[in-house]
């Protein structure tokens, strides 16, 4: 099982684990991203995720292929949700299975870091004070360097 998808429904991590689970593997690693209530000291009320879905799915497929080549992981599922998410909702889930733990763990870490660098997905944060802002990680990185 190797697949990725941009979805607009709830993500069910247990269902994804069931997809990759097999007696062939001794390890399943997962990363679950959820909506946090505080960002940069501001109280978040909701996050609106949007995507260039066609390219996001192509980019996720390329990441899956790279992950297989690097870590030998053949059983991996990625789902990323778009739309308006509430606090605590799952925004992304990555589940990877392998014979041994090191490859499964490294693969999961690789996939989430690549998603953050290159998959065209954006988030608009809505704050409890009624304001809103596009999240720009490149600006945050610049600020932390200065």
């Amino acid at each position: 099982m190797k697949r990725s998808a941009i979805v607009t429904r709830l993500i069910d991590p247990a269902a994804l684990i069931a997809e990759v689970r097999s007696p062939a593997y001794g390890a399943i690693s997962s990363f679950i991203g959820t909506v946090r209530e505080i960002n940069d000291g501001r109280k978040v009320s909701a996050i609106e995720y949007s995507a260039y879905a066609a390219m996001a799915e192509s980019e996720l497929t390329r990441i899956l292929d790279e992950a297989e080549e690097r870590f030998g992981v053949q059983s991996i599922v990625i789902e990323h949700r778009t739309g308006t998410l509430e606090l605590g909702d799952v925004s992304v889930a990555i589940v990877a299975a392998h014979e041994h733990r090191a490859s499964a763990l490294d693969c999961t870490r690789f996939v989430i870091e690549e998603i953050k660098k290159r998959v065209p997905i954006w988030k608009m944060e809505h704050y409890v004070d009624g304001t809103r802002e596009w999240v720009d990680p490149t600006r945050a990185a610049e600020a932390s360097r200065t």
């Binding site: 949007s50 995507a51 290159r118 997905i121």
Partner: protein, 81 residues
């Protein structure tokens, strides 16, 4: 001259006030030349110096050549996860 359609998303769509824009472009123009034309549009002064561009659903280099049939998009800083 031919025309290329450029898709805009998220903060860039807000800056330029549209989800797609049409740019007249000489055949065989590069991504860099396309960006030069986009920078002349109202609202575009707020764009970064070199925004990322995707051609046919993959990131493109600044010297990549563009055809009018290509699927082109400006990609704001991504924030998935």
């Amino acid at each position: 001259m031919s025309t290329v359609t450029v898709q805009l998303f998220a903060s860039y769509a807000e800056l330029l006030g549209a989800s797609t824009i049409e740019i007249p472009l000489a055949p065989d123009s590069t991504v860099n030349e396309l960006l030069h034309h986009i920078r002349l549009l109202p609202g575009a002064s707020m764009l970064p110096a070199t925004p990322r561009v995707a051609v046919n659903r993959a990131f493109a280099s600044s010297d990549q050549r563009i055809q009018s049939s290509d699927e082109i998009a400006l990609i704001p800083p991504v924030a998935g996860g």
